[in-house]
């Protein structure tokens, strides 16, 4: 286990950062030194008891397995002469001993394999869960910078690499090490001289392993980089198959893929050749040692200073000693790739959530009956990206409870950032966002989401039924409540027309749901969640006009009793607003009722005129 040290060494010289010094451009996120080791330790320490048990099982199993040649030596040197002297006892003992060892070896083998599988599966379960939970806990800001593809490969291929190491590699290693120790001890015990020769052969073998490890690491790194490039190209083509087909990119893609694939093929071949060199080298050492032991041993038997049985046993043991050498190479392979993967995982887990949950959560003051929504206060809030670049300069803003506020402005004016601060997808760089006087940072997640819900432009559907997708807003909702929400928003008709109505699986046959319909589903979801503050960020962009109108009509009732922030570049939404904020370059440049602003001569009046014109 301690071998993991080398994994902590970051390997970045092979990666070509596509741009700047942004750490997110690299596959391996910076992590504190030794993070890989700490991770491995924290995964294994809860299972300490069972790890020990597994090790003991293996110890006993190896003892049973390695007893064979010893019994052979005993049989030849003692049982045969005794048998000749009509003493059947020793031979009987050999028979019983062999039977016992054989059954013990088999039974212990079973016990060990199942026990070690349990340990490794528990480690994997823990690790998978950790990555998943951690990725979910990380802020939206993180997700926007660390691409989804990488995150997915962290929890799939990288975990897979560790699985291989745990399931096959580690067992191999422990078996190899244990049998080496056992056999060496046995050899030394059988005959000090012969044993010493065998043990001495470990020195060149060790050097061999080290040099293989060094060279293999380089090749493997090259191979994994090549593989990553292949994967990216592959996934991208499959996800963008429509434009690929429509723009006839097949042949060009084939050519590009061929280049990447070739690069992988070459490094793959290099890796296999390294392995071949290792096998030749280690076998030469092993077989030379065998020949030396035989030479010396036979010489001594010939001169009478060694029993024949001992020589036989020594040779049998030696052959066994070197049998697993190839497998040691395989272990090194899986170790290399697992170490690289663990390093990446450790880097991910070392990221602290940018939007942490409060240590001592507070509760929102209870809503007085009849109180419409909650009051939102932006208190000297300023927001800048961590990498620099101010998005929102310091500002103050109060949204009265029950108000419907429309935010308009061109792309990049900071509308979405404002919304994300309110939904606590981001935390402000300075200042506070208050909900009924409570800082959002002091609210636990369930409390926060009872307070604020945001519906975004991308209407993603999870696999499952339509009803389940709506119920995401409130998992304990009854079918009636789900349908009521869908009806209110105007989604009921199309859902009822699906093959299985609300129980239609959105990923299965007949479940094709258009972009506009998806947005209706996500509205229903938000409605069901029944938050005090509702944020709609470009949530109607894919709806057609009747759909938008239905949503608007519904909103008149839906927004009743809530505070609402509506971001839209379609000004139709603005008409239901009590108040309009016009943003530009991160600042609120106009603020007033729609009627006042339209009547004025400001930017909003301009926008509104342009929009009216576009309708005719």
């Amino acid at each position: 286990m301690t071998g993991a040290t080398t994994a902590a060494a970051p390997d970045q010289e092979d990666k070509e950062p596509p741009a700047s010094g942004d750490p997110f451009d690299r596959d391996v996120l910076p992590s504190p030194p030794g993070a890989t080791r700490t991770l491995l330790r924290s995964l294994l320490s809860p299972l300490r008891g069972r790890v020990v048990l597994t090790a003991v099982l293996l110890l006993l199993q190896q003892a049973a397995v390695q007893a064979g040649p010893l019994l052979v030596a005993y049989a030849i040197d003692h049982a045969v002469p005794a048998f000749r002297a009509d003493d059947h006892g020793p031979l009987l003992a050999v028979a019983v001993g062999f039977l016992l060892c054989a059954s013990a070896a088999g039974a212990l083998q079973y016990a060990f394999v199942t026990a070690s599988a349990r340990v490794s599966q528990d480690v994997l379960l823990d690790l998978r869960g950790r990555i998943f939970r951690h990725a979910q806990a990380l802020s939206v800001d993180f997700h926007e910078r660390y691409t989804s593809g990488r995150l997915i490969s962290r929890s799939t291929t990288d975990v897979e690499a560790l699985r291989e190491l745990l399931e096959e590699g580690l067992q191999e290693l422990v078996t190899v090490v244990l049998s080496c120790v056992y056999i060496s001890v046995l050899l030394l015990w059988l005959d000090l001289g012969l044993g010493a020769v065998a043990v001495a052969s470990f020195l060149p073998l060790y050097a061999m392993v080290r040099s293989y490890q060094r060279r293999a690491r380089r090749v493997y790194r090259r191979r994994s980089t090549a593989m990553a490039a292949v994967i990216v190209k592959f996934v991208e083509t499959m996800n963008g198959i429509r434009p690929v087909r429509a723009f006839r990119r097949e042949a060009a893609n084939d050519a590009a893929f061929r280049v990447l694939n070739r690069r992988h093929e070459r490094s793959n071949g290099d890796a296999l050749l390294e392995m071949a060199r290792y096998v030749v080298g280690s076998r030469v050492i092993a077989n030379t040692t065998v020949a030396l032991v035989v030479l010396w041993g036979a010489y001594r038997v010939a001169t009478g200073s060694l029993a024949l049985g001992v020589l036989a046993a020594a040779v049998l043991y030696l052959r066994r000693l070197y049998d697993p050498i190839d497998r040691l190479g395989m272990f090194l392979n899986s170790y290399q790739s697992a170490a690289a993967s663990l390093e990446k995982i450790a880097g991910l887990l070392a990221q602290t959530p940018g939007v942490p949950e409060p240590a001592a959560p507070r509760e929102l003051p209870p809503r007085r009956s009849g109180q419409p929504g909650r009051t939102v206060v932006f208190d000297s809030v300023r927001f800048a990206y961590r990498t620099g670049g101010e998005v929102l300069p310091r500002f103050d803003l109060t949204l009265e409870a029950g108000q419907t506020v429309a935010v308009v402005g061109s792309t990049g004016a900071g509308k979405s950032t404002l919304a994300k601060l309110l939904a606590r997808f981001y935390d402000p760089t300075e200042g506070r966002v208050l909900l009924d006087g409570v800082d959002l940072r002091d609210l636990a997640v369930p409390e926060l989401r009872r307070g604020v819900v945001m519906v975004t432009q991308e209407a993603f559907l999870f696999s499952g039924t339509v009803a389940e997708n709506i119920a995401l807003g409130r998992p304990d909702a009854t079918r009636e409540q789900i349908e009521r929400a869908a009806k209110e928003i105007g989604a009921h008709d199309f859902i009822a027309a699906l093959p299985d109505g609300y129980d239609t699986d959105v990923r299965k046959r007949g479940g094709r749901i258009s972009a506009g319909q998806r947005q209706l589903v996500s509205f229903a979801r938000a409605l069901l969640a029944d938050p005090a503050v509702l944020i709609l960020d470009e949530a109607t962009s894919s709806l057609d006009i009747p759909g938008e109108r239905a949503v608007q009509r519904a909103m008149a009732t839906v927004l009743e009793g809530r505070t609402a922030v509506v971001i839209a570049h379609r000004l139709s939404t603005v008409e239901i607003a009590d108040r309009v904020l016009v943003m530009e370059h991160g600042r609120i440049v106009e603020d007033g009722t729609p009627a006042d602003l339209i009547a004025g001569t400001g930017r909003f009046a301009d926008l509104h005129r342009a929009w009216r014109d576009s309708l005719t």
Binding site: A19, V72, I76, L91, F98, A105, G106, Q109, Y110, V113, A117, L125, G129, F132, Q136, I152, T157, I231, V232, K233, E236, I241, R245, F247, R249, N253, D254, N261, N268, L273, V284, V290, L292, V294, L295, A302, T303, L308, L316, R319, S410, T411, V445, R449, V453, M454, S463, P475, F494, R509, G510, S514, S522, L543, D544, I545, P546, A610, S614, L615
Partner: protein, 642 residues
């Protein structure tokens, strides 16, 4: 193969979901599942490297047999020089051993050297084939197969196959031969002892057969469960904003934990199976060797057997230990390779789109070519107005004739998405397509570049049935801007041009009002997409639009091209687009009056049929459904009525 329509080919494919739910379901029941037969399908890929592979196996057999000769040398030494106390003989024996050892080492290395490059080549070839094949499968196939499922076939499964070709395949043979030779040597040394050692072979074989079957099922189930788990991971990452927005990450984590827990259960089942077979494989031969030892000792004591023979016999028996024990994991690996092969060919067996649908030869083809040319020349002139006089029959534009469409995976008796659609877009004309959410507008646009094939009826471009046109040619004439603008990991330039001439870049970016690209860190050479700069929805939409116009296509299909733009940008794009549309035949899906006004005429799609065609103002006044779809608010509706 090329004669069947892709729709029927797709229907033949096992649904990935159903495969997940019932590993031994439909697909398995149809043809008997035999690992050997499945693995034989790899032959076409292995064929080119067969010489290398065979030689490698041969070399490995020799190396293995050398390992078996070593005990014989030992025997010779024990019974000869050692018994005779002859140091020179001992030297000779040891030297011989050394030689044998070195040869064995070199042969093992030689075997690996023989297969290293060829096997990586096989893996790469299979991957390239898969990729090439997938790119040519119908879009309907991709609708049903998540990319994660495809990716796992291209990576893990192919790696398993390479490993199978490198080890289990060779070593099942090599170990088999080694065991056989070893058994013969033992029988020759002493047939009675040899028979004793052979006794466990039968129960061992039976156990292996039973194991193979069970393990195959267990490993398929586990592999599919991994697929399900991957889906949850993918969705939780892609839908992160929704999960966060509703504070659902705990329940999501619970769901994940449940699935992962189930996977753990399956893996443990696999481990128990493996443990059982390993236990049997360790115990039985060892018992037999023990029996042989006791029997041998008795006979040595009786003087019927020399000590050297017993030593040689036992070292042979013990040398066979690894070949016998390894059978367990070699079988397991072969099993997994079998599953991998099955998964690989599940995809490879799906039929690619035929280049041209089998149909009677097109009588209008020559005329169509002429009309193409006519259109091409006309493009160089400024046409003051769209060529309304459609009476001129030469270039006949884009025509839908009695087109019915049902998704290939929809039940055949379900109502079609498009039902006998007739629609004609005259050359140079642009037509807006309007319809309620979910009325099939996007579906209709996908039929033009033949992303899907019509179920019945036909679509003609300048008189030529698109089903008879090579796809390559069709798609060079038609360009599409999709509703969901996908950018690839490449530079802005590459994303826009997609193979078009470089001079078009500036113009295309101009039409789409995508001047923002010049302000990006590296201008048009800035990397975008998954591995580069992320752009906003509006920016991506403009690049998709630029991409569509960059190739100067004869036919342009735009699916709601301005939905994500703000009012000012929209107006600017409209103005520029109007100039392009003046001489391009175009089909534009529109949700809003402003987009509709880009087109010369509008068609209303309702209930899967074209309900009305006319100008925006005509329809606004004559068609209540259209007025309902287009009027922004009740006030607008009233205006429309006036």
């Amino acid at each position: 193969m090329a004669t069947t329509t892709p729709s029927s080919a797709v229907r033949d494919q096992p649904d990935p979901e159903s495969a997940t739910a019932a590993p031994a379901g439909k697909a398995g029941a149809a043809r008997e599942r035999s690992t050997v037969r499945t693995l034989l399908r790899l032959w076409p890929y292995v064929r080119p490297v067969r010489m290398r592979l065979f030689s490698a196996a041969f070399v490995a057999v020799i190396a293995s047999c050398i390992g078996l000769v070593i005990p014989l040398v030992l025997k010779w030494m024990v019974d000869g020089p050692i018994a005779r106390r002859d140091p020179a003989g001992v030297w000779l024996g040891a030297l011989f051993l050394l030689l044998l050892g070195l040869t064995e080492a070199l042969l093992f290395g030689f075997r690996r050297w023989l297969v290293a490059r060829p096997l990586s080549h096989v893996e790469a070839e299979m991957r390239a084939d898969l990729y090439r094949h997938l790119q040519r499968l119908p879009v309907a196939f991709h609708d049903r197969w998540p990319s994660g499922q495809l990716l796992s076939r291209a990576t893990t499964d192919l790696m398993l196959l390479r490993m199978f070709l490198a080890f289990p395949l060779t070593f099942l043979l090599v170990n088999g031969v080694t065991i056989l030779v070893g058994v013969i040597i033992m029988l020759v040394q002493d047939w009675a002892l040899g028979l004793v050692v052979l006794v466990p072979a039968v129960p061992l074989l039976i156990t292996c057969v039973v194991f193979e079957k069970k393990y195959s099922e267990a490993s398929r189930a586990a592999q599919d469960q991994v697929g399900d788990l991957t889906t949850v991971v993918e969705e939780s990452v892609l839908g992160i904003r929704i999960i966060k927005g509703f504070g659902r990450h705990r329940s999501q984590a619970r769901a994940f934990r449940q699935l992962a827990g189930r996977l753990r259960g399956m893996e443990l089942r696999k481990a128990r199976l493996l443990a059982t077979i390993l236990g049997v494989i360790v115990t039985l031969p060892e018992v037999a060797v023990g029996a042989a030892l006791v029997l041998g000792c008795v006979r040595v004591a009786d003087g019927q057997l020399s000590a050297g023979t017993l030593v040689a016999f036992l070292s042979t028996a013990l040398a066979l230990r690894w070949p016998v024990e390894s059978i367990g994991f070699l079988l397991a690996m072969s099993q997994e390779a079998g599953t991998a092969t099955e998964r690989y060919f599940e995809v490879m067996d799906a039929r690619p789109e035929p280049a041209v649908r089998k149909a009677p030869p097109a009588p209008e083809a020559p005329r169509a070519q002429a009309s193409c040319k006519a259109l091409g020349t006309r493009r160089s002139f400024e046409v003051p107005e769209a060529p309304r006089p459609a009476a001129v029959p030469v270039p006949s534009g884009l025509r839908f004739e009695n087109v019915t469409f049902r998704y290939p995976d929809a039940p055949p008796d379900s109502p079609p998405v498009l039902d006998r659609v007739d629609l004609h877009i005259r050359p140079g004309e642009s037509l807006a397509l309007v319809g309620a959410t979910g009325s099939g507008k996007t579906t209709l646009t996908a039929l033009v570049p033949r992303l899907y094939d019509v179920t019945s009826g036909r679509i003609t471009l300048d008189g030529v049935d698109i089903a008879e046109m090579p796809r390559e040619e069709l798609r060079s004439k038609v360009a599409v801007a999709f509703e969901d603008p996908t950018l690839f990991s490449a530079t802005v330039k590459e994303n826009v041009l997609m193979g078009a001439r470089e001079e078009e870049l500036r113009r295309a970016l101009g039409v789409a009002q995508a001047d923002f690209v010049y302000g990006l860190p590296d201008g048009v050479d800035t990397q975008v997409g998954e591995q580069g700069l992320s752009l906003s929805g509006g920016q991506r939409q403009r690049l998709a639009l630029a991409r569509a116009v960059a190739g100067r296509p004869d036919f342009l299909v735009l699916d709601d091209p301005l939905s994500a733009l703000d009012v000012h940008t929209e107006a600017a794009v409209e103005a520029a687009l109007r100039r392009v549309l003046a001489d391009t035949t175009a089909l534009i899906v529109a949700h809003r009056p402003s987009t509709v006004l880009l087109a010369d005429r509008v068609a209303l799609l309702s209930g899967g049929r074209i309900a009305a065609v006319g100008t925006h103002h005509e329809l606004l006044h004559t068609n209540p459904e259209y007025a309902y779809l287009m009027a922004a608010d009740p006030a607008g509706e009233r205006e429309a009525e006036r």
